[in-house]
């Protein structure tokens, strides 16, 4: 056997040559600063004309006994180069993406309100919250006309035409068909006519709350408005007592103002209730909220230093009202109460002037958005 004669056309496949080619490739990969440069490195060092590719192609022509060793030498070398290429590619691509994204940086503090959001009127939102409370305790929300028959606004509620209380409610009267006085209609002075209608239509048992717009001939000032909102409650069932009235008011007070509710009833008079009472809520703002043994802050703007907030009237439904509305007072009895929604908003949210609520200035609702 003689040594294989050297063939100048055949590449040299020995360790020094392949090792040098691999080292050159790795150096070029490390030196490539961009993915574009790396692409050229790939062509130069593992492309068709590269030392490694040429050597690889030549292996098949080697004598059998050298094929394995040469194949291993070239394969391992090429593998190292490919690995390094992939690693560098990932590295460079990440750096380049980072740089590209950095280029796209915006100032996120600029305005984004292409179409600003509107708002709901806080009185309506509060009215909804109150309605939700009553729905939550199993009551329903009843409604009725704002231009109301005198019979429903007064007579059915035990205010006959000569009743002194009828004069106390500063009523808007509707002109008759010929411009005369007797239309039999008023702008409702309270939402109680809704209660009368509900009793007539649905009978007992009945648990309803009636929020709505009501009207009295008061001039607009800081605390009065001729058009305002009330919510009244009415519960008619067997065996309801004033204790149930107090329980309902306590729960409502807690819902509206939070904390442990303290309510107080004072004797009063309304034609449609007997016994009647004025209801006061314990001030939720000053020290008085801590309990009856805590004095009110004399300078408290909410309770005026009295510790109590006057909330409205209430009482047990007068049997005359039940009879007029078709309910047998011997079988069913119940309670009713009424609160002013403007007043609640003024107290709860610190609104100082009625004008803000009624003049339709968008700045008032916009401050609240859709929550109160």
């Amino acid at each position: 056997m003689s040594e294989t004669p050297s063939n100048p056309d055949l590449p040299v496949i020995d360790e020094p040559t392949i090792g040098a080619a691999v080292d050159a490739a790795l150096a070029a990969i490390a030196a490539a600063g961009t993915t574009a440069a790396l692409k050229q490195v790939r062509i130069d060092h593992v492309g068709d004309a590269s030392v490694l590719s040429t050597a690889n192609r030549a292996i098949k022509d080697l004598p059998k006994d050298r094929k394995a060793a040469a194949g291993k030498l070239v394969g391992q070398g090429k593998g190292r180069v490919q690995q390094a290429l992939a690693a560098r590619q990932a590295e460079l691509a990440a750096a380049e993406e980072e740089a590209a994204l950095a280029e796209e940086t915006v100032d996120v503090t600029v305005p984004t309100d292409r179409r600003p959001r509107g708002a709901r009127h806080p009185l309506r939102t509060l009215e909804d919250r109150i309605a939700d409370f009553f729905v939550g305790i199993g009551w329903e929300i009843a409604e009725g006309p704002e231009i109301e028959a005198e019979w429903f606004n007064f007579d059915a509620l035990n205010f006959d035409a000569d009743h002194p209380a009828r004069q106390m409610q500063d009523t808007f009267y509707v002109a008759g068909p010929d411009g005369g006085e007797d239309s039999g209609l008023v702008l409702r002075t309270h939402t109680s006519p809704v209660q009368a209608r509900a009793m007539l239509e649905r009978g007992a048992p009945l648990y309803i709350a009636c929020p709505g717009t009501v009207f009295r001939t008061d001039e607009l000032d800081a605390t009065h408005t001729p058009v305002f909102h009330q919510v009244e409650g009415l519960a008619i069932d067997k065996g309801l007592t004033m204790a149930n009235l107090v329980g309902t008011l306590d729960a409502l007070a807690a819902h509206l103002f939070g904390g442990a509710p303290i309510t107080r009833l004072r004797p009063s008079y309304f034609p449609f209730t007997e016994p009647s009472a004025e209801m006061d809520f314990r001030c939720f703002s000053c020290d008085a909220r801590e309990g009856l043994d805590h004095d009110a802050d004399p300078a408290c703007r909410v309770c005026g230093g009295t510790g109590w907030i006057e909330m409205g009237g209430c009482g047990m439904v007068n049997p005359a009202v039940l009879r007029a509305c078709g309910i047998d007072p011997e079988e069913h009895q119940g309670f009713a109460f009424g609160l002013g929604i403007e007043r609640i908003l003024m107290l709860r949210n610190g609104v100082k002037d009625m004008h803000d609520m009624v003049e339709g200035d968008v700045r008032f609702p916009q401050h609240y958005g859709t929550e109160i």
Binding site: P111, R114, G118, M168, F172, P267, C325
Partner: protein, 861 residues
């Protein structure tokens, strides 16, 4: 409302130790007499008695003469030495130097001095001040300066002890003049609810105070003894021929003559003071006495000049056309329903007063009156209330009668007044007395002992029940035991107590409302909000999210609003409900459309500096019904036909939603400037509202004020019901309300829109096969609405249509004059498989044919 001087109250009930106005008010509140105001002491600070030691009269350049006075104001207040620069007249002794312009006093007189620090009514604080060349170290006071009114003796000048305002008073220098003159009295003003007429008297308030505190009550009426009359006095005839509600206008009339009264005799100082404190003006002895007795007992009275009165007195309804000049010197045209007091004067039948309201001028007591006839009667509440209202005369008398006056009082009140006239005016009380009519017996009320517990929820003992009722003066018969039924006769002064529940309230308030427990009732469970209630919330919220702000407005509109909005003359929106008593005379109508009040609200916002407007409101609108609404009896449930008659005559009332949109829809910024709100936004807002409530709107071209005639959309529910309109406002309206150019608006019937929504939203299957996208452009006549083209396409394509959207409208040379091109992108999808080219082609053909047939559209090449 009644003013309660504390010392007067204390005449009838023992006040708590150290009671002041605030504690009395608090106690009265606890039994239901609300505090209206507290009137504190009228004068505070060092108001003292002083003795004039010396005075010099110093003429001034202005022609006046003033007094430079040395006054001894007591050791506590005197200055030891005169000021060397400004010595006082006379011998130097401890004193104060005061300048006084009045001349009705001399050295040695006792006067009233307000020293520096005193605050007189006004409020008028007193300080030392330099005047007329001296330092005046205080002020010598007149009655007017102290709030006592003109001097009763006509004294011109300051108060001198022993005379005028200070008649009968004596004191030492330095004594407190506030208590001496009664200027420190505190007064509680209370609010009386319509059921408590008896609280319009010291007698009634004292009884209530006793209920609150347990303080001993002495009934002032019980202290009056009415001697047997020797016979009837002036003849009185009760001739009511037209009782109201079947109740006679006058059920009892007591008349008593008092003669020989000194017309010069003033009423006593204490009486004048009490009247003043109670808010009435002292006038003359006779008038003051009748007022005093009314305030004390609660019985309104009247005094006739006996010399002017011609018997007999008749109590009757007014004659047609009858006239009367009342005490306030105003002529009154009487109404046939007015109850009048008449006598035989004039032509023989003369009205001399409106019963229970006000007396007449013809028999008025005057400065020359010596003989009077005193009247105390029981008049019907309703009759008096109607007359007072009719003549707009809410007098002290009518206030009491319309709430009910104790029918036992007339003879007592007349006697008390006569005695006061005898005592202070030297009058002689005639032994005769007229007392006609009757005191109606009170009906007893049957009260089960457990009734209060049943209604109030407090386990009252039978003893508490009986004691409470006895305390208020009721007669209680029956056993105070559980299960028994009591027979309760309310006292004569409580006409308001008529039913069982009235008595329950008395028991509850006397035992105290604070003992009522708190128990939340368990309702059987409701159905939640109605669809309409939920829908309204969703609608308002959807628009709020889309950029509109919800506002509220008053429903009152002026008559000119319909012209301002350009409504045609026969527009039914002109039939507005009219108020008899509007707050503003120029806004007597109620809105028939929400934009009538929302447009002025938009204007107000723009006027306050807003540059754009995007507001919404939900509110009611109404139309006049043209019919009067009947008023059935409230004694029992009205019959169904009566209720139907009410409903039939009610003015139609609907809940509308309206919006006004104008100016930039947002701020300009780095993205450029925002688009202006316009007609398309108004229509889109309507669509969003519809979507929010689960309904759909069809849009058609229309013309309606106040919209631009070419830019007005009619909005219809799916069933064709008219829901409202949206679009651009007419330029004239834009100008009238100073709105941004091309502002849009919408108004829709929200009730109807919500009602048009389906009760259940039916499901649509979700296909997983791929869609096919097709575009179509049709050339149609310019007058063909895009919606008509779309509707034809929908019908033509049929079930395969998934969605359709107009993406372009073109007019111009390429389509020719009077024509337009409308382009739609369409997505087709099948539920059963991937669409084939043949299926898609067939759908295209159907679509093109349908458009051609329906609107004459040609597919654009």
């Amino acid at each position: 409302m009644p003013r309660i001087p504390l010392t007067w109250l204390a005449d009838h009930v023992a006040l708590r130790d150290g009671a002041d106005a605030e504690s009395v008010a608090a106690d009265l509140v606890s039994v239901g007499l609300e505090e209206e105001a507290i009137h504190g002491a009228q004068v505070t600070g060092p108001l003292v008695v002083g003795r004039v030691l010396a005075l010099v009269k110093e003429p001034q350049k202005n022609g006046k003469t003033i007094n430079w006075v040395r006054v001894d104001v007591g050791p506590e207040h005197n200055e030891a030495l005169d000021s060397p620069k400004d010595p006082q007249p006379g011998d130097e002794v401890p004193s104060r130097g005061i300048i006084c312009g009045a001349h009705n006093f001399v050295e040695g007189d006792l006067v009233v001095v307000s020293l520096p620090g005193t605050v007189l009514p006004g409020p008028f604080p007193i300080a030392a001040r330099k005047t007329y060349g001296h330092v005046s170290d205080g002020m010598i006071c007149s009655g007017e300066e102290l709030g006592l009114g003109p001097d009763p003796d006509g004294e011109d000048g300051i108060i001198v002890l022993g005379r005028g305002h200070a008649r009968g008073l004596d004191a030492q220098p330095g004594d407190d003049a506030i208590s001496l003159l009664g200027l420190g009295e505190e007064v509680v003003e209370i609010t009386v609810t319509p059921d408590r007429g008896y609280a319009f008297s010291m007698r009634g308030v004292a009884r209530e105070y006793s209920h609150a505190t347990g303080g001993a009550f002495t009934d002032p009426a019980a202290a009056i003894t009415v001697p047997e009359a020797s016979g009837p006095g002036v003849e009185v005839l009760l001739e009511d021929e037209a009782p109201i509600h079947g109740r006679p206008g006058c059920s009892r009339f007591v008349a008593q003559t008092v003669t020989g009264i000194d017309p010069q005799a003033p009423s006593p100082r204490w009486m004048q003071q009490r009247l003043t404190l109670a808010g009435m003006r002292p006038i003359s002895l006779v008038v003051d006495v009748t007022n005093y007795v009314m305030l004390d007992l609660g019985q309104p009275m009247h005094a006739y000049d006996a010399a002017q009165l011609v018997a007999p007195i008749r109590v009757r309804r007014a004659h047609p056309g009858e006239k009367l000049e009342t005490l306030d010197d105003k002529p009154r045209a009487l109404h046939g329903e007015d109850l009048v007091i008449a006598d035989g004067g004039g032509t023989g039948d003369r009205a001399i007063g409106i019963a229970g309201v006000m007396g007449g001028a013809s028999t008025e007591v005057s400065a020359a009156t010596t003989d009077v006839v005193l009247e105390a009667a029981t008049f019907d509440q309703v009759s008096v209330a109607r007359s007072a209202r009719r003549h707009r005369l809410p007098s002290e008398s009518s206030k009491r009668f319309e709430r009910g006056v104790d029918p036992q009082l007339p003879a007592l009140a007349v006697r008390r007044a006569a005695e006061l006239l005898a005592e202070h005016g030297g009058g002689t009380i005639a032994s005769e007395r007229t007392d006609v009519g009757t005191v109606p017996a009170r009906a007893a009320i049957s009260l089960p002992v457990g009734a209060a517990e049943r209604l109030v929820g407090v386990a009252y003992t039978p003893q508490q029940v009986v004691e409470s009722l006895e305390k208020i003066g009721a007669r209680v018969e029956g056993e105070a035991a559980a299960g028994s039924v009591l027979t309760v006769t309310p006292p004569s002064w409580r006409p308001d107590l008529r039913f069982r529940e009235d008595l329950v309230e008395e028991i509850a308030r006397l035992v105290g409302y604070e003992g009522i427990p708190s128990i939340l009732p368990q309702a059987p469970g409701g159905r939640g909000l109605t669809r309409a209630q939920r829908g309204r919330r969703s609608a308002a919220l959807a628009l709020a999210e889309w950029g509109l702000t919800e506002v509220t407005s008053y429903p009152f509109v002026p008559e000119g609003i319909f012209d301002a909005l350009g409504y045609p003359q026969d527009d039914e929106r002109r039939t507005a409900v009219r108020l008899l008593n509007p707050l503003a005379e120029d806004e007597p109508l109620l809105r028939t459309a929400l934009l009538q009040t929302l447009l002025p609200t938009a204007k107000r916002n723009l006027g306050r500096g807003q540059e754009a407007v995007a507001i919404q409101e939900i509110g009611t609108v109404s139309r006049a019904s043209g019919a009067a609404v009947p008023i059935p009896s409230a004694a029992a449930r009205p019959r169904e036909d009566e209720l139907r008659a009410i409903d039939a005559a009610m003015p139609p009332q609907r809940r509308h939603l309206a919006a006004v949109l104008g100016g930039a829809s947002g701020p300009g910024s780095w993205w450029g400037s925002a688009e202006d709100w316009g007609w398309a936004d108004a229509i889109e807002a309507a669509r969003r509202v519809a979507a929010a409530v689960g309904a759909r709107l069809e849009v058609r071209q229309d013309q309606l004020a106040p919209f631009h005639p070419g830019r007005c959309a009619q909005l219809l529910a799916e069933d064709g019901t008219l829901i409202g309109h949206a679009g651009e406002l007419h330029p004239r309206v834009v100008k009238a309300y100073s709105l941004p150019a091309r502002s849009g608006a919408l108004e829709l019937d929200l009730d109807a829109l919500i009602a048009s929504a389906p009760a259940v939203v039916r499901a649509e299957p979700v296909s997983t096969y791929p869609p096919a996208k097709e575009d179509f452009a049709f050339v149609v006549d310019a007058s063909v609405p895009a919606s008509a083209v779309e509707a034809a396409m929908v019908v033509g394509i049929g079930d395969l249509l998934e969605s359709i959207h107009l993406f372009d409208v073109y007019t111009g040379d390429q389509v020719g004059e009077g024509r337009k091109s409308v382009a739609f992108s369409v997505r087709l999808r099948s539920e059963t498989g991937t669409l084939t080219a043949e299926e898609i082609g067939a759908a295209r053909t159907r679509c093109i044919e349908a458009v051609s047939a329906a609107v004459g559209g040609e597919l654009r090449a």
